[in-house]
């Protein structure tokens, strides 16, 4: 039994409590717990295979969890079949019924609830109006565009006034040009209705744009849940730091008093290259004991380019430039091995030094984590 009991210590509208799920030997979800407040949009963000879709399908009732429980407004819905859950869902490919008209699709959930005919008609009109598809009732699903199909799917899900709306990568099937506009319309509609929503995506930008809260999943584990700002500014794990926004990885050794010593690779035992060793002030786990291997994750805007040989800078050479509209990035190959991305402008081939922006003020740079076995950067 989970630590929570019905109606007790349970303030959230929708709660996921210690959920486990395996397919055969493969652990898909591992002890997931998270809460969604009423009217909030929670985004489940993760790479493919992270378990986000499985979690959504368990919320919908299409899959049963192996262990753990689901709570909706204080009652246990773990074993409730999808039919009785009163959830709505926008499927990845919309799953509109091709043999029914737009109006009949939207009416489907209302008919299941045995509402009177005129009530159904009224709500079909209302729902289509909500998604700006007034007068589309008699159209065939095959006769409308992809974006319109997506809106019909939303209208169909919202028409029965569900308690929670689930969205499975709702924008992935649209042309890139249409995505941002549709995303805005979709979130506007959700906010106007004030519905509690769980939205699955693998795109960080989308997650940040729509989510009140974002839950980052990886390999069936919840890495972190928080507001977009929290995730970006205070990533709890290297995975989150890398997955949310851009970040470069630097390896080094924990120094004393919240510093990290960055040394050339393979030089740990000699002092020969002492001048190439750089010590930076960092933020991060205070419990890392001095001398243990750590990695520093640092965002491009936390680094600046300085002249080669400047104190507390890492020497390197610009190997790549990337112009991204408002900002530009360069990739610097470090003499100590590895490379970092810096928000700056410089031509390829120039020898430069890389310094933490905050180093001038003595503030911390990047976040430091115990070196993970998987590595990479």
């Amino acid at each position: 039994m989970g630590p929570k009991c019905a109606g007790e210590g349970l303030t959230s509208f929708l709660s996921v409590d210690h959920l486990d799920k395996s397919f055969g030997d493969h652990r898909v979800l591992d002890g997931i717990s998270l809460d969604v407040e009423g009217g909030e949009i929670l985004v489940l963000l993760g790479p493919s295979g992270s378990g986000k879709t499985t979690l959504l399908r368990i919320l919908a009732g299409f899959e049963a969890a192996d262990a753990g429980s689901l709570w909706l407004a204080g009652s246990d819905i773990t074993h409730q079949p999808p039919v009785g859950r009163n959830f709505g869902m926008v499927f990845q490919h919309y799953a509109l019924f091709p043999h029914l008209t737009v109006g009949e699709n939207v009416a489907f959930g209302l008919e299941s609830r045995r509402l009177p005919r005129n009530e159904i008609e009224r709500r079909v009109v209302e729902s289509l109006d909500l998604v700006d598809l007034k007068g589309f009732e008699r159209r065939r699903v095959g006769q409308i565009s992809g974006g319109q199909q997506q809106r019909v799917a939303l209208a169909r899900a919202l028409a029965p006034e569900p308690q929670v709306l689930l969205l499975d990568e709702p924008l992935s099937n649209l042309d890139p040009g249409l995505r941002e506009r549709t995303r805005r319309e979709l979130t506007d509609t959700l906010r106007a209705v004030g519905i509690t929503a769980v939205w699955v995506t693998h795109e960080q930008e989308e997650a940040f744009a729509v989510g009140d809260k974002v839950a980052v999943l990886q390999r069936g584990k919840l890495e972190q849940i928080g507001t977009p700002e929290e995730l970006y500014l205070e990533p709890q794990t290297p995975f989150v730091a890398r997955f949310v926004g851009r970040a470069s990885t630097l390896r080094g050794v924990a120094g004393s008093g919240g510093t990290i010593v960055l040394k050339p690779r393979g030089d740990e035992n000699t002092d020969r290259d002492h001048q190439r060793t750089v010590e930076w002030q960092v933020s991060g786990s205070p419990d890392i004991e001095s001398g243990s291997p750590v990695e520093l994750l640092i965002r491009p805007e936390e680094l600046t380019l300085v002249a080669k040989g400047e104190p507390r800078s890492l020497a390197g050479r610009v190997v790549e430039t990337r112009f991204a509209g408002a900002s530009s990035f360069v990739r610097v190959q470090l003499d100590t091995g590895g490379s970092v991305e810096v928000a700056a402008v410089a031509e390829v081939g120039r020898a430069v030094g890389v310094r933490a922006t905050s180093a001038d003020s003595g503030g911390p740079a990047g976040r430091v984590y115990r070196e993970s076995r998987e590595g990479g950067g």
Partner: protein
């Protein structure tokens, strides 16, 4: 298209037209009195005789009833084998398709041995219930329907299974989360989505029943349908009347085809062509339900295979050794020895084999050629290649219609304009498209290539896959037929567009 290709297309189209059209024309001509001056008197005679109308009516209702019965057996079986998981499902699922592998006349004879007045089953039941007489008589419309249902439910079974594997699981999930229970989901979502497959199976069953001869001939007695009526007329030396009857039967078949296609027009192919995952098979959780399913399943397979077993058994009975016993007292290989040692006995066997082989070779050759030409022509149209690739059922005949259409003076653009409708028609009659194993090859060169692929799979795999390939083979052939039909429709649609 290159001039060489055009010539080939024309040649092929002409050959196919001859293949299909010539016999029909001869029949029509003879019905109109080819030999002794043109006349409508044979049709007048047909129209004036009550027994002719009775036979026609019986043909129609027997065929319609066969469709209903076959659907009632085949569709639930498809759901059972596609949607649930229980021990033996794969093997049973293959065995259940076997009735179609019994040639009609042979099947009827097996039924006689089993359920006839002195059949194994009949006598066993009489013995069990201590009856003096057989509990039933295997004759009349009931017997015909029994045989039809037995041999034709397989169409519904295979077509529905194929369609169920193709069905996007999200459809039923969407229905569930919108609050629809199992029955409502079945009635409002699943079955309507299966409609193209069901229509294809219904068309095939109807046509096969209409043309069925063995069962009405042997069980019908005085209950005459059109096929037996034709033979009776022929035997009465009323050749021209028989031809008139044949023309009427063919006309009914064509009308039936048109009606079916019209009914099917409303059905839609799945939107956008995106396909989700296939619905998962539900493991039957409760132990006793699983046990009952397994027992019933194997029992059913036993019943379905009894005709095959009966034939094998009876083939071992030496002549005039079996009289009143329930089971034959002597079993040996005398009959086989007879067949293989006497050339005049072996001749029919060899004839059957080489004719079947030759027919297969010609059909494959024609089909591949037509598909090749069809593919080349469909590449010309805008986006045609991709569309065609998604419609593996685009069969030989349907494609070779291209040459004929060119003659009608329609260009590729117009062809594209009517494509949408064409495609839905092909979809509707494209039950083999979803069958496992047949798809990738069929993409390229039509159904017959799919058949070839099935053959390869059969050679690779063991017993189970061989059964499967048999299962695949049958609807592939069916789609071949059906696409011939849709080819006809295509040119019809096109004429209207032009």
């Amino acid at each position: 298209m290159k001039p060489g290709g055009r010539v080939a297309a024309w040649g092929l189209a002409a050959f196919l037209a001859w293949l299909v059209g010539y016999p029909l024309l001869v029949t029509l001509a003879e019905a109109l009195g080819l030999e002794d001056g043109w006349t409508l008197e044979h049709f007048a005679e047909f129209a004036g005789r009550a027994d002719e109308w009775t036979a026609l009516w019986r043909s129609l209702w027997i065929s319609a009833a066969s469709v209903v019965l076959a659907a009632l057996v085949g569709v639930p079986l498809a759901f059972l084998f596609e949607r649930t998981e229980f021990p033996g499902r794969r093997v049973l699922g293959a065995l259940v398709a076997l009735p179609v592998a019994l040639p009609p006349l042979v099947g009827v004879i097996a039924f006689l041995f089993l359920y006839g007045e002195s059949g194994f089953v009949t006598r066993s039941i009489a013995w069990l219930l201590r009856l003096d007489d057989a509990p039933w008589r295997l004759r009349g419309p009931g017997a015909i329907l029994l045989v039809h249902a037995y041999s034709m439910y397989v169409y519904f079974y295979l077509f529905s299974r194929a369609a169920l594997t193709r069905l996007d699981a999200a459809m039923e999930e969407a229905a569930a989360i919108l609050g629809a229970g199992r029955l409502r989901t079945l009635a409002r979502v699943t079955l309507p989505l299966l409609r193209p497959a069901l229509a294809g199976a219904a068309l095939l069953t109807f046509m096969t029943s209409l043309a069925s001869f063995s069962a009405p001939y042997i069980f019908g007695g005085s209950f005459r349908v059109m096929t037996t009526q034709i033979v009776a007329s022929k035997l009465n030396a009323q050749g021209a009347l028989a031809q008139a009857e044949a023309v009427v039967l063919a006309a009914v078949a064509v009308v039936g085809l048109i009606v079916m296609l019209r009914l099917d027009r409303g059905s839609t192919a799945v939107v956008g062509g995106v396909r989700g995952v296939t619905p998962v098979r539900r493991r039957i959780a409760r132990r006793w339900v699983r046990l009952v399913t397994v027992v019933l399943g194997w029992g059913l397979a036993g019943v379905l295979l009894m005709p095959h077993a009966t034939l094998a058994l009876v083939s071992l009975v030496p002549p005039s050794t079996w009289t009143v016993e329930l089971l034959p007292p002597i079993l040996n290989l005398d009959n086989y020895r007879e067949v293989f040692s006497r050339p005049e006995r072996l001749r029919p066997v060899l004839n059957s084999v080489w004719m079947a082989a030759a027919a297969t070779a010609v059909a494959v050759g024609l089909g591949l050629a037509a598909a090749r030409l069809g593919r080349r022509s469909s590449r010309g149209g805008k986006g045609g290649g991709r569309k065609a690739a998604r419609n593996p059922g685009l069969g030989a005949l349907g494609r070779s219609g291209y040459g004929l259409r060119r003659r009608a003076g329609h260009d590729l653009q117009r062809r594209g304009a009517s494509r949408r409708e064409d495609d839905s028609g092909r979809h509707a009659l494209d039950p083999a498209a979803g069958l496992p194993g047949s798809e990738p090859a069929a993409d390229r060169s039509g159904v017959l290539c799919g058949v070839a692929a099935d053959g390869l799979i059969a050679r690779r795999g063991g017993v189970d896959s061989r059964c499967r390939s048999l299962a695949n083979f049958v609807p592939s052939g069916a789609a071949h037929l059906a696409s011939g039909a849709s080819g006809g429709r295509e040119s019809r649609v096109h004429h209207r567009a032009g």
